[in-house]
């Protein structure tokens, strides 16, 4: 058991270090950053904001991780978020119950995933382009639902998902924590994880070994659609309205970034849900840090770019090997000495 924990920690170490470094950097520029207090029965503070605001990207990153593990990519998640937010809002305003609304919305998200999956797995279209179709058209569909306006709602239940709290934590945090653990368990306790990795590494060999490649590929995109649906509900519930024009806009890039910061290769194969979640939190920490820093907004992008490059350099295999060499220069020097004699 402890060895499993250790393996896990070793895998997540770079991400944990990066996150710690960023948190420390922010708290140095902004002293009150680490403060936590209880307010209205829920935890309140910048750290909680990071977890809360990070919810959509965390959720998207969970689905994206699995898709990327199959050597795919899903550019449509932002648009699917918008569609699902719009569906949720219009369903709740047209009188459906909360339960029905969530059910319908999730079904729509999964349907979007199936569409992407069929394009990739059955029609054999390259994932970037296959999902680009829905990325472009999807936002149009979302706007069609809301007719370009922000569709507001007042259903207390739906709003609760966005800004309520449970056990002292904001609901979005509870949702992604529970969902993340569920997906991680599903993937790792079943054989799904390994089979998906096999497909991502060598699709042909996997198919020849009897892996049900198309079905698993579609399932991966379905999961991504599901994640986008939940993220869409949270985003809409957060502002009590569905903003089809802006919900999830460019979030697909953040989600991909989160997966990569989490150390999953874009070439497919080995993946870790936990690491991607950490990656998403790192990205949100950067965003929140920038907001707290008080720099003029013109500098936002430069700061973000610089920090990302920094983290990625730290994680790059080359840098790590160079670091490993620095760590053992003594022994190496000794052997060469001996050889000289």
């Amino acid at each position: 058991m402890t060895s499993i924990v250790r393996i896990y920690l070793a895998r997540l170490l770079p991400q944990l270090i990066a996150l710690a470094a960023i948190l420390i950097a922010i708290s140095m520029t902004f002293p009150g950053f680490l403060n936590l207090e209880i307010q209205n029965g829920r935890l309140y503070g910048s750290l909680i904001d990071i977890l809360n605001r990070g919810a959509p990207v965390v959720l998207l990153a969970i689905g994206m991780t699995v898709v990327i593990a199959t050597k795919g990519i899903d550019l449509s998640v932002g648009a699917v978020m918008a569609i699902c937010g719009a569906i949720a809002a219009s369903s709740i305003t047209s009188g459906h119950s909360l339960f029905e609304t969530i059910l319908i919305t999730i079904a729509v998200g999964i349907l979007c995933g199936i569409w992407n999956g069929i394009l990739v797995a059955v029609l054999d279209i390259q994932p970037i382009i296959a999902t680009l179709v829905l990325m472009v058209a999807g936002r149009g569909i979302a706007q069609l639902v809301t007719e370009g306006a922000i569709l507001t709602f007042n259903d207390a239940g739906l709003i609760f998902i966005g800004s309520g709290s449970f056990a002292g934590l904001p609901m979005p945090v509870v949702v992604w924590l529970v969902f993340g653990v569920l997906v991680a368990l599903l993937v790792r306790q079943s054989a799904l994880g390994m089979l998906i990795e096999a497909i991502g590494i060598n699709r042909q060999a996997s198919t020849l070994s009897g892996v049900l490649t198309p079905v698993l590929l579609i399932a991966a995109y379905m999961l991504s659609g599901l994640c986008a649906a939940i993220a869409g509900i949270i985003a809409a519930a957060d502002i009590r309205g569905a903003d089809a024009n802006n919900a999830g806009l460019w979030l697909e890039l953040d989600a991909i970034l989160a997966v990569v910061v989490g150390g999953t290769s874009l070439l497919g194969g080995r993946f870790s849900i936990a690491a991607s979640v950490l990656g998403a939190i790192i990205i949100q920490a950067i965003n929140t840090g920038i907001l707290l820093s008080g720099f003029p907004p013109e500098f936002n992008l430069i700061i973000k770019a610089a920090i990302i490059v920094f983290i990625l350099v730290l994680q790059s295999p080359r840098f790590r090997t160079a670091f490993a060499f620095l760590a053992v220069p003594r022994r190496a020097a000794k052997t060469t000495e001996q050889e000289a004699k």
Partner: protein, 322 residues
């Protein structure tokens, strides 16, 4: 016919067919004006897409082009406004900067073994950030030389024009085709796309090729920025958002595989025209709401990809049975 020309042929076929279809509905689409516009309006995209083609052929991707275009425009506007530098000198300077930017990204990608997607994503943030820092305002460029350059065009019968930038795009494509298919560098690009490890074992200079590819993309993004600044006579930090996706789409519609190693620069030109045609068609129709516009663009994109797949599939089968 050689099998490798199949995607290209399919793309051209689809373009010709759909052009004919559009013309049947709106005869005006055949006017030289529309054809001239197709060249001029897509010039900056075309120039950037040539660089993107090389990057994608090598198995990489460059998400920074849109931001680099914006940066170039703002840089030119600021320089021309605040100094007495001649535009040509400013062009040279900005091209040097964007090329260097590409070199840097290439070096990070190669030496630090980081995925191009992420490195260029950071590059995208950085370039746009630099544009913001230079100026958040949109700055008009009033230098008389710009007027001179715009004065160069070839008037077609019927009111259409082949403008300088439209011609420049065709030239860039011609040079791109030459580089891709008739130089050792070009073959090396394809070699990288076929597999970096193998290419390395075969003696391809992977480091210098990778760096040159991103340098070329940076150079062409810069050139595209110049074209864009000529096109709009202005520099604006929010310009050209998402152009990288348009360029990637054009490259892929043009029959190039995103996995690298297979495709044609010429295909990208057709891809650009197909996208331009979609836009023109939608404007000519003029009855679509904002949302239906998006949905239709997505649907047409899908239709093109599907058609391409279908044609390739059919002709493969036909040959096998032959």
């Amino acid at each position: 016919m050689n099998k490798k020309y199949l995607p290209l042929t399919a793309t051209i076929l689809i373009f010709v067919l759909s052009y004919a279809l559009c013309a049947a509905q709106y005869p005006n689409i055949l006017s030289t004006r529309v054809i001239g516009n197709l060249l001029t309006d897509n010039a900056f995209l075309g120039v950037a897409a040539v660089g993107m083609t090389f990057v994608i052929l090598s198995g990489g991707i460059d998400l920074s082009v849109g931001s680099v275009i914006a940066f170039t425009g703002v840089f030119l506007a600021v320089v021309l406004e605040h100094t007495s530098m001649h535009p040509l000198a400013a062009f040279a300077l900005v091209l040097a900067i964007t090329t260097l930017f590409g070199v840097l990204m290439g070096m990070i990608i190669h030496y630090l073994e980081m995925p191009a997607f992420i490195v260029t994503l950071a590059g995208m943030f950085l370039a746009r950030g630099m544009a913001f820092v230079l100026s958040i305002d949109s700055i008009p460029i009033k230098h008389p030389f710009y007027g001179t350059l715009k004065g160069f065009y070839y008037k077609l019968p019927g009111g259409g024009r082949i403008t300088l930038i439209g011609g420049l795009m065709l030239l860039v494509f011609a040079v791109g085709i030459l580089i891709a298919h008739r130089t050792r560098f070009g073959t090396n690009v394809y070699a990288l796309g076929g597999g970096t490890a193998t290419a390395k074992l075969m003696g391809v200079p992977v480091a210098s090729t990778t760096i040159k590819i991103y340098a070329l993309s940076g150079l062409l993004a810069g050139l595209s920025g110049i074209v864009f600044s000529l096109y709009t006579s202005a520099g604006y930090s929010l310009a050209a958002v998402g152009v990288e996706l348009d360029a990637i789409t054009a490259v892929v519609i043009g029959g190039t595989l995103l996995t690298g190693g297979s495709g044609f620069v010429a295909g990208t030109l057709v891809g650009i025209f197909i996208q331009g045609l979609i836009q023109t068609y939608i404007t000519f129709d003029g009855s679509l709401s904002s949302w239906w516009t998006k949905i239709l663009i997505g649907a047409l994109l899908f239709a093109f990809i599907l058609l391409q797949k279908g044609i390739i599939h059919l002709s493969r089968d036909a040959r096998q049975h032959a």
